[in-house]
């Protein structure tokens, strides 16, 4: 005689189903989607899933961070360096709300992620049960899509949908909230990937007429410039961008998240756009007669004062998210498309060309920027150590081959300015949100995603302390990340603004810091304090040579400023090179 359980299982098998719990189904769905790494933190409501995870640890590696925000940032960084969606687990209530900063960060930077949060048992939802929060309501404005599952039978279909939505079109984070009883209840499991939703059309047919118009505009331009954004990396169009640039001879400027989409050392590289970007591409935006914007969204940090932005230029905007077109800047030609597809179609239509005198204008600007800012920042001979010289040394000593992670503030802007990126997806930074505390957990995710690369994190003494507990994750899993604290004893970027715009009144920006070397020691991470320029090179060499994790705490000029700067409200062409108090 077969037991009831055996009868159930045999019938299920005959029908091509498996009879398993919701918790197991969640894990099987992830495996079906090619997931092998999960970042997360357990708690009461998600315990059935964690329990099952023990049976799947040969297929699914779970990284226990020390805070849910850390799990979210680590999973995001993992997604950024691997191109695979980042997966993150958290429990109900505080576990779920702790994710919000991480979700919002991924949303603004268009990162494909699946957040799975547990919810109290379905019968208690809506009753203010213990550890119940309305996480659907809370996360709605910062997710591409979210959904709550109350019945185990819905798990496969909803997770399939989640992957489809998160990874297609303009990618973004998706949150699935799963009631505890749905995790415990059995279902007949069968997985089918999702590739169609009638209300969601991530693939827009290319408007070939628009591509032809773009080619004509490009072929007739005299001072064209390409503005390349994160969309290039997300659509894996780096090669097409390179081809377009090399065929047409058009200089390429990049946004913060577009850094590494085009080699920083290329002769057509025009530099980095925006508030603390390079002199040439900002200034010459207002001289160009054609801007070809690809996979970028004209963020205010890039455009400066919109009333004085690119007034001499016609603008072509290639962008997958139609809501971004004509949102901040009115354009002359809109191409609502995936970047790679648009470029593949555009390249054959453009004429080989070169813009020698136009490029010379960039080089003249570069020389001015070098003489007035870069030289002093990267090769100072006197005074305290400067952020720029640290980044420049790291860049030279790694040949631009490392994955660079940053926190937010001066450390971030300096890393973006002075590291020479040679490989796509080699910068992991918080762009749209500017989330302090991103750097340390992100370095964990980046290293797990790219174990063969040096992963180096530049971080401020302020931001380091926002998620400092992730040193515990680094210790726990022996993650060999290289941490460089650019320690100026201040919330540096805010202090810079206070100096420039608030009469040097340093309200709540000076920090009393702990002994970071001792803290690293507590986590068994070797560390070194650097105070003198003379020790710097050897210290960096030591950091790079170390097998495991390593931390450098470098004393930086307390009142160093990141320049150039487009002051808030100023035009891109009013970019300030020198600031003398």
């Amino acid at each position: 005689m077969m037991t009831d359980k055996e009868v159930e299982e045999t019938t299920a098998k005959v029908n091509g189903f498996e009879n398993i719990t919701g918790a197991e189904a969640i894990l099987k769905c992830l495996i079906e989607e090619g997931v092998d790494t999960i970042f997360g933190y357990p708690g009461g409501a998600i315990m059935p899933v964690y329990d099952k995870l023990m049976d799947y640890d040969h297929k699914l590696r779970h990284i226990l961070t020390r805070h849910e925000q850390g799990a979210a940032h680590a999973a995001q960084a993992y997604a950024m360096v691997t191109g695979k969606p980042g997966i993150c687990f958290a429990t109900s209530g505080p576990g779920a709300t702790n994710l919000i900063t991480g979700i919002a960060n991924a949303y603004l930077d268009s990162i494909p992620m699946i957040f799975i949060t547990a919810q109290v048992v379905s019968g208690l939802i809506g009753t203010d049960a213990f550890q119940e929060t309305d996480i659907l309501g809370v996360s709605m404005p910062v997710t591409k899509w979210n959904w709550q599952i109350k019945k185990s039978q819905d798990i496969p279909e909803i997770i399939a949908k989640a992957f489809y939505i998160a990874t297609t079109g303009r990618p973004g984070p998706v949150l699935i909230d799963i009631a505890k009883d749905a995790q415990q209840e059995k279902l007949q499991f069968k997985y089918k990937k999702c590739n169609y939703l009638r209300s969601y059309n991530p693939h827009v047919p290319l408007n070939t007429k628009a591509i032809e118009s773009a080619a004509i505009m490009i072929n007739h331009a005299e001072k064209p410039m390409i503005l390349a954004g994160h969309g290039i990396l997300l659509s894996r169009a780096e090669n097409e961008l390179l081809q377009l640039a090399e065929k047409t001879g058009i200089p390429v400027a990049v946004t913060l998240l577009g850094l590494s989409a085009f080699p920083s050392g290329h002769r057509l590289y025009a530099g980095y756009l925006g508030m603390h970007g390079n002199y040439a591409p900002n200034l010459l935006t207002n001289e160009a007669d054609l801007l070809i914007a690809i996979g970028m969204r004209f963020d205010d940090r890039v455009t400066g004062n919109l009333k004085k932005y690119a007034k001499k230029a016609r603008i072509i905007h290639i962008e997958i998210d139609q809501a971004e077109i004509n949102k901040n800047v009115l354009v002359d030609l809109e191409i609502h498309s995936d970047a790679k597809e648009a470029l593949l179609n555009l390249i054959p239509l453009v004429k080989p060309n070169s813009y020698e005198s136009w490029i010379r204008e960039f080089r003249i600007c570069d020389k001015i920027e070098y003489d007035r800012v870069v030289k002093e920042e990267t090769k100072p001979e006197t005074g305290k150590i400067r952020m720029g010289e640290v980044v420049k040394l790291v860049s030279d000593m790694t040949n631009g081959d490392a994955v660079i992670v940053t926190d937010v503030g001066q450390n971030q802007m300096t890393a973006a300015r002075y590291y020479r990126f040679t490989q796509p997806n080699s910068l992991v930074t918080s762009g749209g949100m500017g989330t302090m505390g991103f750097g340390l957990p992100a370095s964990v995710g980046a290293k797990i995603g790219k174990p063969d690369k040096q992963v180096i994190t530049f971080i401020g003494d302020g931001g380091f302390q926002m998620t400092i507990q992730e040193l515990g994750t680094i210790l726990h899993y022996h993650i060999p990340v290289k941490i460089i604290i650019l320690n100026n004893g201040f919330l540096g970027m805010v202090r810079q603004w206070q100096e420039m715009f608030f009469k040097k009144r340093y309200a709540s920006t000076e920090l009393v810091n702990p002994d970071f070397i001792a803290i690293a020691g507590g986590y068994k991470i070797p560390a070194k304090k650097v105070t003198e320029r003379g020790e710097l090179k050897a210290a960096i060499a030591g950091l790079l040579a170390e097998e495991g994790a390593y931390l450098l705490d470098i004393d930086i000029d307390k009142e160093g400023n990141v320049l150039p700067m487009i002051e808030p409200g100023a035009s891109v062409s009013d970019i300030t090179l020198n600031y003398k108090g």
Partner: protein
Amino acid sequence: MRQEFTLSIFSENHIGILNEITIILTRRQINIESITASESAVKGVHLLTLVVKTTPDMVRKIARQIEKLIEVLKVFVHTSDQIIYQEIALFKVSTKSMMSGNILETIVKDFNARILVVSPEYMVVEKTGHKSEINELLVHLEPFGVLQFARSGRVAITKQVKELNVYLKELDEAHRNKAETIETLK
């Protein structure tokens, strides 16, 4: 320049969709002048009709943001001359006012309204029309003592040629063709 727009939003019948839409409007500080939600002529498809006052530039931006929502099928933006629209209003008027002869009946007739219910205490007048006509009727009824007044949001029919079901059919076909091409390529 601010003007009145009617947004016809076709969506999947999904819990929370209204919330998602109002989040977009709230962020831009746009007030909803009127709202009607119901099932549409296409099975399973919901129709939300919103009236907002804003600039043409802003309405284009928000329409694109709403259309970006995963469960939204299509958003149509119309100015008042591109649609045929109505609102319905109910007025509860004290029956005592009947004492004043047939003035009330004349008003009801003049306004193309009708009397729905008459009881010893009150009667209910129904008026279908544009907001201004309803407002005007309210002014005329007020002297008789309006005990209650309720009005609906706008319902609208567009003058455009391409109907939603045609659009949906095209979507489904495009998908099927694509799936077939992929199938044959294999």
